[in-house]
């Protein structure tokens, strides 16, 4: 096994390649760390990358910008040896390379930080960092744990990371896990780091911290490729931006010389307006209220601590927050998938704390679940069978224990037509539809229940722009009709534009409840990171009593 020599493989030193040379953008500079030349990658029926060029100069942050499905990740998987390109060359440090596996890419000094971290949760930070590259002692008979520990500490010192090598990965924050991923790549002697949507799971403050890390890394001669679909991040952090659209490269630009509107149009290929209107509407009676609700997760850890909230007919209450701060468990308690350990839940005048899930459904509670492929749809069932999920015992579709399948079929076809599910085939299995169309079917099924409360969690996650606009419109329409809506989303723009009131959840508690127009995105970000609003200490943070 090759012994990694972290920290010593790059002899460039901190001063070697700090200055940015924009001449690289013209392709005249030969000091390219990575050069992807005419990469084409096809999948059955789709061309994921079509003759894409990418030139990344050493010691810079290079953003790869594009919408979901533009082929960014595919291109990086080619660079990382996970896919072999059908056409084109991969040139690293001026030398053409063929990668059969990530191992080859790692040996060539390339490291990848995946969006979904590739960490083994029950192992320690140090064990994860060394995984697959463990130095050994006693002729390979034992892992040299002291040496791993030493080298990890050296790396942390060098790049200014504050990470405890002995902590278990599942016990550290997401931001730290990301640093562990970066350390893992550095431990293997990576000179080029690929970061796939690195900000997706971070709070705005953690994002700032990440930018600092990137700066430190490039200052020490490392090269960063930064995959993102967020314009601001690309312009903020990158020295150069390559835009991908529909699998093709639409050019590389210098962020200092391009305005954002032009960049946006280049990325999407058309003008984009994402402005949902949410005029204030007359609200009615309280439909849902919780008092002092406390919920434990599967491991018995209290993740929701004493939540009070009220949702009235005709209003949208948004819950913002970084994923994993108890939103999921709170929603499960409200929708009947998890029994709260303390507190009461009232719905339309009844105490429903211990009601079964079915009883809640029958009483007009619609629920768009977070995970449509685990919960919302039965993937091997066709849309007809999925159309009755949740109503399989309701009088509308069943009598005497028998399901009225022709009636269900008509219902499913109606949803497909009204909610524009494509392809419009009720006999097709749910798994054969794209994520956006799956979501439209769920939204249709839930909205057609004639609900008095809609609980929507991340209703547009992974959904294309067109379907997103459609789902937003339907939510606002329901609100106009006097339905109470509880919306959970980690997309700030979505939750700010739709909500009438906005609660920020952090570590199982509501940090603040405000009018979404009264706070800036920065303030919201701070609260999502746990900082309580200044000077508002006298105001009770619970939405139940804030009105």
């Amino acid at each position: 096994m090759s012994e990694p020599e972290p920290g010593t493989t790059d002899g460039t030193g901190p001063t070697a390649a700090v200055e940015t040379n924009t001449a690289a953008l013209d392709g005249t500079n030969s000091d390219l760390a990575v050069h992807l030349d005419g990469i084409t990658k096809r999948f059955p029926g789709v061309v994921a990358n079509d003759d894409v060029d990418l030139r990344v100069e050493r010691g810079t942050v290079h953003a790869l910008l594009g919408e979901n499905g533009a082929g960014k990740t595919t291109l990086m998987n080619v660079l990382y040896g996970l896919y072999r390109p059908d056409e084109g060359r991969v040139v690293i440090d001026g030398e053409e390379r063929t990668f059969d596996s990530p191992r080859d890419a790692i040996d060539a000094g390339i490291g990848m930080i995946h969006q979904h971290f590739m960490l083994v949760d029950p192992m320690t930070v140090a064990e994860n960092i060394a995984l697959g590259n463990e130095p050994t002692k006693w002729f390979g008979m034992a892992v040299d744990r002291d040496r791993i520990d030493r080298e990890v500490r050296d790396l942390c010192d060098r790049y200014g990371f504050e990470v405890d090598p002995d902590a278990t990965v599942e016990n550290v924050s997401v931001g730290v896990q990301q640093r562990v991923e970066i350390l893992k790549a550095l431990f293997r002697g990576a000179d080029v780091l690929i970061l796939d949507e690195p900000t997706a799971v971070l709070t705005p403050q953690e994002v700032e911290g990440l930018y600092d890390v990137l700066e430190e890394l490039t200052a020490q001669g490392k090269t960063i490729i930064f995959i993102t679909h967020k314009l601001e991040e690309a312009t903020h952090a990158a020295d150069a931006i390559t835009v991908l659209r529909d699998g093709e490269s639409v050019g590389t630009v210098d962020p200092d010389r391009t305005d954002r509107e032009a960049l946006a149009e280049r990325m999407v290929g058309r003008e984009v307006i994402l402005e949902a209107d949410s005029d204030p509407v007359e609200t009615g009676d309280t439909v849902l209220s919780t008092r002092d609700v406390t919920v434990e997760d599967d491991r018995g850890v209290e993740v929701v601590s004493g939540i009070d909230l009220d949702v009235r007919a005709g209003e949208i209450l948004g819950i913002a927050g970084v994923d994993g701060n108890g939103q999921a468990e709170l929603i499960e308690a409200i929708t009947g998938l998890r029994l709260p350990d303390e507190g009461r839940i009232n719905y339309a005048g009844d105490d429903i704390t211990t009601w079964s899930r079915r009883r809640r459904i029958e009483n007009g509670m619609a629920y768009i679940p977070e995970d449509r492929q685990e919960r919302g749809l039965v993937m091997p069932f066709d849309l007809v069978e999925n159309g009755v999920l949740g109503s399989q015992r309701s009088g509308r579709f069943a009598s005497g224990g028998r399901i009225d399948w022709p009636g269900v079929r008509d219902h499913a076809e109606e949803i497909i037509e009204t909610y524009d599910v494509r392809p419009p085939d009720a006999n097709a299995d749910a798994r054969s539809f794209s994520g956006g169309n799956q979501q439209k079917f769920i939204v249709g099924r839930e909205f057609e229940r004639d609900p008095s409360l809609v609980v929507a969690t991340h209703p547009t996650r992974g959904v294309d722009i067109g379907s997103t606009e459609f789902i937003h419109d339907r939510l606002l329409e329901l609100r106009r009709e006097g339905v109470a809506v509880l919306l959970v989303s980690s997309k700030l723009d979505e939750i700010r534009s739709l909500s009438d009131r906005l609660a920020v959840m952090y570590e199982g508690e509501f940090i603040d409840v405000t009018d979404p127009d009264a706070v800036t995105e920065e303030e919201l970000g701070l609260r999502m990171a746990g900082q309580r609003p200044d000077g508002e200490a006298d105001r009770h943070p619970n939405p139940g009593e804030s009105r």
Partner: protein, 354 residues
């Protein structure tokens, strides 16, 4: 139900505490063992150790397979084929003799392990190459073994039971066997007991101290993390499943040659669910090889106590006594509750899928 939950929680806490403080656990364990040794008859102790052999070794093998992400429920089958083939080989080479300077018993041991590994290889290929459902494939391995042993026995011996062979004799370690309390137990015993004790220590070392052990754990928890770190998940899983074949083979052959001396092939065969008891054992031990060894003493102790009760002629029906170890498995499973299985256990992993 709440009482069960309370007991379960205290069990889990105790288990977690033991794992966090290995030194305290070791001291406490030794103390507890000494008390048990002082309080129980020597004959029960020796027979417990012998009955523990197939359970402990099969459990340790099962730990490796399951930790790597392959649930090997066919381990019962591996015990059957290894015990059977070991006895057949000894009978064929000549009971009590030696071949090429090596006693035939040891040839039986070797072949028993090889046959077990062969079956483990079959299981590994079926699961890793052809994406078979691990549980069903494991059941199939069990059923095939269940049919094959008596089938072969009828051809060779005209009966579902094999001939009798002379079993392993005690090996006495000089000086150490004179130690008070544990000497006669640990240093004046049969070879398969030494193998079990050494196997438990080796299993623990391999799993917790070597590179391979870490890869096994990563392969079961997050194979993609291991794959992207440049390690071939499939090779790790193959190695782990074959290793489960080695351990189960040692357990089965050791049990056959040291304790049974003949293989009875009727019904569930003489192995009689010991492989499944082994699975319950490692769940109880939370995948810790030393814990699995201690856990196997629990079931083996009940097993030998049952023999003792029968011999003492208590009025309890023998048929019911015989099920005591099996009932205790259910009690243990209820107390353990859902053990946190490795995240990717039971799932096929295909490198490169996204």
């Amino acid at each position: 139900m709440t009482e069960v939950t309370t007991m379960r929680n205290s069990l889990h806490r105790a288990r977690a505490a033991l794992e966090q403080r290995p030194l305290a656990a070791a001291v406490g364990g030794v103390a507890a063992v000494l008390v048990v040794l002082w309080a129980t008859p020597a004959s029960w102790q020796t027979s417990t150790l012998r009955f523990a052999v197939p359970i402990a070794l099969a459990a340790i093998g099962g730990i490796f397979a399951e930790k790597s992400g392959v649930i090997n429920i066919g381990i019962e089958g591996l015990l059957i084929v290894s015990a059977f083939s070991a006895i057949v080989v000894v009978d064929w080479l000549g009971d009590g003799g030696a071949t090429a300077g090596v006693p035939n018993l040891w040839w039986g041991m070797l072949i028993g392990v090889l046959v077990s590994v062969l079956f483990a290889l079959l299981f590994a290929i079926v699961c890793l190459e052809f994406e078979a459902d691990q549980i069903i494939a494991g059941l199939a391995v069990w059923l095939i073994s269940l049919g094959l042993a008596p089938f072969a026995s009828r051809i060779l011996f005209d009966s579902p039971n094999t001939a009798n062979i002379t079993r392993f004799e005690n090996v006495t370690v000089p000086v150490l066997s004179e130690l008070p309390v544990v000497g006669y137990l640990l240093f004046d015993t049969e070879p398969q007991v030494y193998i079990m004790l050494a196997g438990a220590v080796a299993g623990w070392y391999l799993l917790s101290r070597t590179t391979f052990g870490r890869w096994v754990v990563a392969s079961g928890e997050n194979p993609k993390a291991l794959d992207t770190a440049g390690v071939d998940v499939r090779k790790v899983r193959y190695a782990a499943v074959l290793l489960s074949g080695v351990f189960a083979g040692l357990g089965g052959a050791g049990f056959g040659l040291g304790t049974l001396g003949t293989f009875a092939g009727t019904g569930d065969t003489v192995i009689n669910g010991r492989g499944f008891i082994a699975i319950a054992t490692y769940l109880l031990a939370n995948y810790h090889p030393i814990g699995a060894l201690l856990g196997s003493f629990l079931f083996a102790g009940l097993n030998s106590m049952q023999s003792g009760l029968q011999a003492a002629g208590y009025a309890i029906p023998t048929e019911l006594i015989r099920t005591i170890p099996h009932m205790s498995v259910i009690v243990v499973l209820v107390l353990v509750g859902r053990t946190r299985l490795p995240d990717a256990a039971g799932d096929h992993y295909e490198s490169g899928e996204d």
